[in-house]
Symmetry: D3
Subunit: 237 residues, 6 copies
């Protein structure tokens, strides 16, 4: 039995609320249960120096957590003077995931910076962030289209993510914090709308896991992500 009473293949309540920022070209407040992430997509005319003159754009992401997003207050990274390895790892993952469905040539020499800031955390912040970031990114691209800044499609597909894990010996979908902190195995999956795999990260926290267990996690993830993609489609209608 999961602490939340959910079925093994049941996600938390997911909402995707658009237009939550007065300033950003695209924005989305995504909630996976009690995990709340504010995603904004900012269009910038500058691109990274190493990309200049290549007729291509860039999509990048940054991730942060408010100090009291968590059960115990954590030190503010701006005050500590550096971002943790975990933060850097997550923001690299979000950026790679988004770029997997963007046609950078079609974007032109511009950068879209997606900021994912966790207002409240209850497990699965990186997967919620990727799922919400896609909506913010999509709105930013729509914003550009309505201003005739684009001549061909930029977004190639949906991208969404979910975590799965083995909790008390059972593979379950969309771990919350209670499950995540005691799961034997924890895996994050990033898939496109058409079911292609973009990222897989699986870690044995306790005992190593088997190929069969991993296949079960992937199967759960595919189901969850297909529902997330449906929600994304409804959100941007």
């Amino acid at each position: 039995m999961r602490p939340s009473k959910r079925a093994a293949d049941e996600m938390r309540a997911v909402t995707l609320e658009r237009n939550v920022s007065k300033h950003a070209e695209g924005s989305c407040l995504v909630k996976f249960g009690d995990t709340h992430v504010l995603c904004t997509a900012s269009l910038e005319e500058r691109i990274p120096p190493w990309l200049r003159g290549q007729n291509r754009g860039w999509v990048t992401a940054e991730y942060g957590m408010l100090p009291r997003a968590t059960g115990d207050r954590m030190r503010r990274e701006a005050s500590a003077g550096k971002q943790s390895g975990r933060t850097l790892e997550i923001q690299r993952l979000i950026g790679r995931s988004l770029r997997a469905v963007v046609d950078l040539q079609a974007l032109g020499e511009r950068q879209i910076s997606v900021d994912c800031d966790v207002l409240q955390a209850d497990g699965g912040t990186r997967t919620a962030a990727i799922t919400g970031a896609w909506v913010a990114l999509s709105d930013c691209i729509t914003w550009m289209k309505t201003r005739d800044m684009l001549t061909r499609p930029v977004l190639k597909d949906h991208i969404a993510a979910v975590s799965c894990g083995i909790y008390n010996g059972t593979p379950v979908l969309d771990l919350d914090y209670d499950e995540d902190s005691t799961a034997e195995t924890d895996a994050n999956f990033v898939l496109t709308g058409s079911g292609g795999i973009v990222e897989i990260q699986g870690t044995a926290e306790g005992a190593p896991f088997s190929e069969e267990e991993f296949a079960q996690l992937l199967s759960l993830a595919k189901g969850g992500i297909s529902r997330l993609v449906e929600l994304q489609k409804m959100a941007i209608l």
Copy 2:
């Protein structure tokens, strides 16, 4: 005529929403029009080293802005590796303001850390932060009372803040960003519920201002803050 059509002594719509954080002992989402600040108060058993053994507690504050809280995206301070002078100045101001109405002896050897994170900025973020931080602090102290952690009152008074400025030659209350960026003079006032002055910061952006002008700004601020204190009282009912 103000860009927002407000009267000279008219504040923006102010709301104070409590219990916006699942984890924090006290929390408040404060809105001064389009300026939105999430305030959380975190109770910590540790105190700063220089306070140890003095039977006193401490109240401190940290301030941050999401990168796209503003019209143009700003660099994330965690990524830049340091907090700007502006950020440090503001969080010192918030901390001093809150401590002015707290009985640190009554708090006992504990620290309350108040985080004020600007989700969306439209001028007046520091004054909104102080006003909302008081609500979060008050709820944190109530949380302690209901757990019998306090033996006498800790909060001595309300504290609230507002900015005033001279805009197009006219003293006006509660500057929004459009006004703030062109005002000749900009002043922030922090007052207690009983009308005592805790902080005054006045700056001539263009021409110096006179004693008379300053008196007018202070008078506007007293009116605005008395309304903010009313809202705080209603919020914590």
Copy 3:
């Protein structure tokens, strides 16, 4: 009775010694009693990137304290790897104060950097720094004039600063360290030679203060600053 036996409206002995640096275009060693600040004004042909191409110059300031300027040795900021919030706050104040009396267009595309380094501290370092920085700045501008680098006046007025506070219930002028560390209220005033207010910073260290008390502090400050401006005039004769 003040620890220094001064009358309530009596400043410490103030001296302004010019030409104390072999290299700087302008320099002044300012003493407010035992508070000694070395101010140098350096002319630089480069300007901040965001000002380029606007036919305007810039005046900026930096502030520092020698580690043993104070009663207890403080950690060297260069060794700590960052400037404290207090340092950043003070140098921003000095820069704003100086710019309030400079015609940046008349300066041309150049920057004057004023360094204020506290050799010995006994309270009021920021107000002494502003008062001495004006003299260094004035000499730097004279240096430029004698080299035909300027076509019209750059300095619009004097600027000087003093602190006031409520010490043992009495408003007093120009706090020294003994007073500053126990004053109930501490306020810094920056005024022009013609009496216009450029900056006001008032803080209740203990109990909040009233509008009447604040008016008394401002009145003392006006007297003190008018004497400081007299001294500046004599210094640059």
Copy 4:
């Protein structure tokens, strides 16, 4: 055809040279073809503060690259003042991988720090590092056994790692730099000697990959890692 002419399931020449450090309790110079990593295991009596008093030890890892380990010289991280996200990600992976086969209770309140420094890079540095780090760790534990510092077995299994990828449409084992920089998909696998999975990291660099492709990569990895474990066994004979 692979640039190195290797068969799809063929690893590069792998060597594991022990006792390459005069000082370290365990050490191994591991080579996967032209990728050379120097691994040292250092026994330290101190443990991280959060582990104190729990009768458990810790195994941690750090990763670095000499500036000219790569085709173009890279900036030295010590001079840049921080470790890159990539470095932090890799050293976290090495540490987790090693801890998966260590009985931390049996280690006692001590820390083993494994340093993996890349002397020369040609792709696959993290997988070579994990494979060599196990040998250094094993020797460090043997060093402790011969000094009667341990009362029961600490190492529970072997751990080794290899990368696989889809190169020109074909799944191949043990990518070198030429392959890695153009592969469509790149995955790192960390497995135990008994075939349990400890870490999986798969990334689509270009087009997303399918479940079938991923299964092929995992199958190649299992073959490669079983050979690496054989080499580890021979090395520590």
Copy 5:
């Protein structure tokens, strides 16, 4: 002919002014011509962690330069966020030089921190700093003696320093900036009052130098330092 018209073995005018700090236990403003260094010695009860419990004290030094001590303004190290290699090198040299004449056991478990801050630079700042630091240190020790904090002598000898160089083919004593910036060879010598050598640092800026040239520089240095020690003796009378 030297730019300053001095004879080859002639030092600049040297002054050692004591008691220049209201707060420090010992202080000296040392001038070697236009090179002015403010030296303060601060007694601290804490010692470095690695020295605890050894019944020994420590003497350490820090060095800094005001930004406009030099002909062109240099970036403030506190603002740059780190001390330069040159600064670290110099302060290590000053500390080692002072410790060479201090009986650390006799000092007891205390630290004396000597700060050497260059107010104005014209070459030879490190040698002036060492020479003045000795006077500040000596006064600090006298301060301790008069408070009965010491039971036996702490200072074993004088220490002083001077630079020599080969300028236009001629070995000369006490280089000023004009000479230093064009000298072919530059050497710093630190000697005790009894003529023992504590530090030698010689660098060929252009062509390598010979053993004979080096011997000439050392001979000049011995003469200069013996005069500096005389001045120290007169200063502390």
Copy 6:
């Protein structure tokens, strides 16, 4: 008697192994007994900003130590976030030493960066680094010659270095760690192939040393360096 049984004027076994890096334009693994330093020379088309447009090149050096190169593991500088004063001092010394024998005009507007990374330390790392760096530099210049990038000779002479010290009252050549950590005096000498002195750094660790002692150290160094230069000549044949 020296701990290593060597005669007073006997160096450790020295080897200079070239072509140890697949990528670098020049490389050398130098061993002075158990001190092993990997030196790579990297040709870069960019030069420092302050050299641009002067038709001259630059040679610079960086120095590092693997964390467990030493008897006790040291903190990794990349993780500490800064290079120590010792590291900065050493890499400045290596760079100056190499530039003393390079014709920077003949090099053209290019930079050669020499990295010296200590794989294992047993005293004398900086002198081994200089000696090996010269070989790497020489091979880099040869690499350029064979590609017709140079029109006249760049390398003017050999450069090599050795340490000497007074150990148990006797001057000895090429200190190892056992000697270095207890020597009364420690001096590093950098000489050219033709015997010119480029750098001398002598430090009294305990009692000051005399001119005669220093002359003995220099004499030992000349002997040692002349043998090192022979080895360099044989290495590059």
